[in-house]
Every structure is written in structure tokens, then in C-alpha cells.
Symmetry: C2
Subunit: 337 residues, 2 copies
């Protein structure tokens, strides 16, 4: 899937990828999908010029370089949307998305494709315990980014027992943050959503309260629900100016904000952040840190993140997938191969 | 000490403060001082209109309201620059500067004075183990804000064993952050300073490296000193646009930034913070959390924060104190009574 320019996406034939570095693996994709962040170049916010699209992927290993030890031909693997060696000092501290060998899959590798070359395969890919049942594929695919990202948001916000978690954003990442908050044992989970179908999914994933208001009214409602204090933990999963300030102001003093919405054109007034007196952590999620745990939860059917996909199309019809996501007619589109 | 308007500060007679609430205490000040943040209204950045100045204080309790239990008449006490009840949920979580009864001493109470009424005395004041020796007064006074604030910056940045800490800012708070990082066991402490006298004091407090460069050049130098990764822990103790971005960019992915510089007119591009992938925590320091520990360290002569005062003047000459601090001819001015 190639984005020629904003709004112009086409499926075309490309040469098969080949092993270049001894740490590479070649995978044949089983499924891939379209991410909310793919809409940035689609809408012209990020540049696109014959860009290879896609950064979420699951599949079967077809070939490995001589130095690859942890995955072998035939393994079913899930990979992070950021390439990491998983051995450098930054990776070992749990921030694989800041790896010294970091490379973003989006734009360079492109996994809306039949095959992909994955650099640093040992540090990026995680094999599943065996060949997965068909119905687990969407959930495993979700782990590659949207689940891993929502999970990171909830971890960064320190969602956990005894804590009230507010999630700003009812897109796929926000819904996954609700799922994560539930798994992490949060006492109360406030989902901020005004779409009935997404509210329903938020409740399925563990939301205890729904707040429809946005901006200052949304902040006021969260405070009403938390004795006037604000939430202990807030996840920002939108990335607009309004949602960012709403998230900051919904967090109680000393509370924690995990922000995972890609926030182009957002400016945070320093003095507002200062007087909020909160913790803030965010950025591209270190999905690799969480993959082994997430894969196991899916394998054991303890979580069902795959329900976040509300449309499946063959890869050939990916252009239609972009269109319906851009028009918000689907939350997240799975692409079959 | 009253600030009539920007740049116009005068010492004048006022009626003695009286107990109003049963949780109040009246203290007779032993010493007070001028804070870098007092220069904001002095320079017209914050409004001033016959404002009672000063928020740092040590002294002897002269009277207490009926509900006060933890301090008694005759006690020598140190208080935080933020009034707190120390019993609400926010206080109990360690964020007393976000107390539901929070009140800033600056501007309302004003402790550049002979006496002051301190609300919520039990939650705000901490008695020393006895009457202090004269030479401990400056250090105890420093605990009231500048030491407590620098300490919070270092704690927020998780300064500790095995970690490299960079401190942006060589004012009193920055120097106290260096002291704190040393006490917290940091392996390496980089002080960013271009003033020889402050470099010397930074080394006295525990700095292992001095970086004179600022902005991007300062970031590059910190990276050179840290294998290209950036510091584990960074304390921002200035509050300008340049210093804020320098601090963000000096922090390694997954690292921690404690920001305690009051940052009017600073705007943080969300996308820069996103791709930095760091933790950020800051705001008005919850000094009350640290006071018991800091008082004990001072009492046992394990730390000597009082050296940060490089000029002492009688309260009557406080106007001169503002002038020399504004002109950067003194780091921090102690006012004697």
C-alpha cells in the first residue's frame, strides 16, 4: 500500500523484501491494519510522497539473517511499530521506543503489504506460544500498536487498585486504555465518549462511568465524580489542543497523566502545567516492553482487544479502508491477506 | 515589606497579626529572605498592588488557636511557602502544595515582616528539635522554600544511585537541587553554569561536572558526557523557554525531568514532548513533605544549604536587597530581624 500523496493511496506490486542485515527477518503477513496515525499523512498533516504505509503486523517468519537467535522460520510473530535492538541501555530501562537503533516501521518499511523486512528481529519480534487460532489474529494484531499504546498510556498514568482512571478519547487507543486500566485493577474507569457504539465498547472493556462533555465541561464532570479532586490517573488518547488541556486539568495534584495521542499543533502553556502539579509521561509507546505479557493474556483469552476492529477488508481494498476511517465510519479497519 | 507596584518596595508599619481561625498560629520571625520568584512582580511580570511580600520564614511561635496541636508557644518552627492542612487526600499523597486548603503565603500573608499569621499551623509548620544555634538559622530558612524546592526537583527527577543528574540553572534553587542530588546518592551531577562563583558553590554542593554552554550547545554537551543518551535525571530550575527546552532535550528517553522553575511565558510544543519520550513532574514544591527530613539533616549538620545566602541585610533595608538580586549582584538575600 503506497501513499502517493495526501489522500491518494494505491495497492501496487513491489519486489519481495530480502535479508540485508544479518539481524533481519522476513515475515509473510497474516493480517495488518490501518492506524489512526495513518490518517495524518492521508489528511496532509504529515508529508507523504510514495510512502510505504502501515506499521502494525502479525505474520509468519519466512527467513532470518545469520545473527537472529530468538525467532526462527515458521514462527508466528507479533512485532512492535518501532524497531528496537532490545539490548541497549534505553531498551533495558524499558523504553524500547527510544532505542539507540530506533526506526519507525511507518513510512520506511510499510507493513500494509504481503511481506516485510523487519530489522533487529530479535529485539522487535515476539513469537507466540504456537500457531494461533484464527479468531485470535485480530487481538494479536492489536497488540502490535493500538493495544500496546493504550496499555502504555494506562501504565504511564499508573492505573491500578484503588485508583480512578479517566480516559480522554474513545478511538481504538482510548478503548484499549480502558481495557488496560481494567486489567491493571483500577477501581473506577471514566470513559470520555459521546458515541453510543463506542460507549458500549468502553463498557465492555471495563468503563464504569461515561462522560459525554468535553473541554472545561468535561473537566468539571470528572471533578464532580472524584470529590472535586480530579482523577488519580488520566490517559490522553486524542492529541488535540482541547483534549490535551482537558487531560491535564482532569488530573488531580500529584496525579499521573499518560499521553499517547500524537499531538501535532498542540502547545502546552508551561505555567498551566506548572500549577497543575502533576506527573506527565508519554510518547511513542514502548510496545516491545509489554508484548510478551499482552500475547500471553490474549493467548489465554483473558482479554479480547480484537473487538476494536469494526471492519475487515482485503488488502486490495485498503483505499476504501482509509476512506471510511477518515470519515469516522469505522473505528479501526483490519486488512486481510 | 510592601510592594506598592513593580519596582517600588517599602518597609512600613502594619498592625500586628491576630489569631482569626482556631487553626492559626502567630509567629515572630527570626529571619526571612527574598526569593527569585519575588522578582516576578518586582519586574512587572506578575501584578503587584500594595502586596505583602515574602513567603519564606523561620521563627518562634507566639500564639496558637484553640485547635492547634502540633506546635506550641515558644517552639522554633520552619514553615512551607504553601499553606496546607496536611490531612486531606492530596496532602496524604505527598502533594501538600496541592492541598484542598492550599493558600500561597506570597502576596496574602507576607513573611518579609516581624510577625505573621500562619493558617493551618499544624499542617504547615514543623518545629525544630530545640532552639537552634545561630549559625543554623540560614539553613533552616532555606528549607522553607529554596532547599525544599530544589530537593523536590531532584526527587521528581528521581536522582539517585547510579544516575547522572543534570541541573539547568545555577540560581539558589538549582544549587539546592545539586545538594539534593548529592544527598540522594546520584553518581554524577552536571551543573549548568557560566558564573565562576556559582560554579564553585555547585562543586561545594556536589557537582562533578560543569557545563557552561546553553540551549542546543548545552544539550549536545550533556549528551557527550552521557554516551550520547542524555541524563537519567534533569532538574529545570530557571523557567525560561530556552531552559525548558534545554531541560527536555537533555533528558534521555524514559528519563525524568523535575521542573521547578516558575515558567511564565513558556510554551511547550506537544510534539517535542511526545517524541522526547520522558517523564515530567513539577510545579510548586510540596515542601511540607520534605521538611521533617530536611530539618533533621540540617540539625545534624549533614547539609549546609545556608551557604546559598551571599548577602544579609536588616529587614529595614530590604529594598536594597531586591535591587541587588534584580541586578544579579547577589544569589539570595537573607533579611535579619
Amino acid at each position: 500500500m503506497i501513499m502517493y500523496t495526501a489522500g491518494d493511496v494505491r495497492v501496487e506490486e513491489r519486489p519481495d523484501p530480502k535479508i540485508i542485515e544479518p539481524t533481519d527477518a522476513i515475515i509473510r503477513l497474516t493480517a495488518t491494519c490501518i492506524c489512526g496515525s495513518d490518517l495524518w499523512p492521508y489528511r496532509g498533516v504529515e508529508p507523504a510522497d510514495h510512502t510505504a504505509m502501515g506499521h502494525e503486523y502479525v505474520g509468519v517468519v519466512e527467513a532470518v539473517g545469520d545473527d537472529v537467535r530468538n525467532v526462527k522460520v515458521g514462527d508466528f510473530v507479533v512485532g512492535s511499530f518501532v524497531i528496537s535492538d532490545n539490548t541497549c541501555e534505553i531498551c533495558r530501562s524499558g523504553y524500547q521506543s527510544g532505542c539507540v537503533h530506533r526506526e519507525f516501521v511507518a513510512g520506511t518499511i510499510g507493513t500494509q503489504a504481503e511481506k516485510a523486512r523487519i530489522p533487529h528481529a530479535d529485539g522487535t519480534l515476539v513469537p507466540t506460544p504456537g500457531q494461533p487460532d484464527e479468531d485470535l489474529i485480530p487481538s494479536l494484531l492489536a497488540a502490535s500498536d493500538v493495544l500496546g499504546t493504550g496499555w502504555y498510556g494506562a501504565v504511564a498514568a499508573e492505573a491500578g487498585p484503588g485508583r480512578t482512571v479517566a480516559v480522554v478519547g474513545d478511538g481504538a487507543v482510548g478503548l484499549m486504555a480502558v481495557l488496560a486500566a481494567k486489567q491493571l485493577g483500577a477501581e473506577r474507569i471514566i470513559a470520555m465518549s459521546r458515541h453510543p457504539d463506542r460507549q458500549e465498547l468502553a463498557r465492555f472493556y471495563g468503563a464504569t462511568d461515561i462522560v459525554e462533555e468535553r473541554g472545561d465541561a468535561g473537566v468539571a464532570r470528572v471533578k464532580e465524580l472524584t470529590d472535586g479532586l480530579g482523577a488519580h490517573s488520566v490517559v490522553e488518547a486524542v492529541g488535540t489542543q482541547e483534549s490535551t488541556m482537558q487531560a491535564i486539568n482532569s488530573t488531580r495534584p500529584g496525579g499521573r497523566l499518560g499521553f499517547v495521542g500524537v499531538n501535532y499543533d498542540v502547545t502546552i502553556p508551561g505555567i498551566d502545567l506548572f500549577f497543575a502539579g502533576i506527573h506527565v509521561e508519554g510518547g511513542p509507546a514502548p510496545v516491545r516492553r509489554f508484548l510478551p505479557e499482552l500475547i500471553q493474556l490474549i493467548w489465554d483469552r483473558k482479554i479480547d482487544p480484537g473487538r476494536v476492529f469494526d471492519l475487515a477488508l482485503p488488502l486490495d481494498e485498503a483505499a476504501q479502508g482509509y476512506k471510511v476511517m477518515d470519515e469516522r465510519r469505522a473505528t479501526k479497519v483490519l486488512l486481510t491477506l
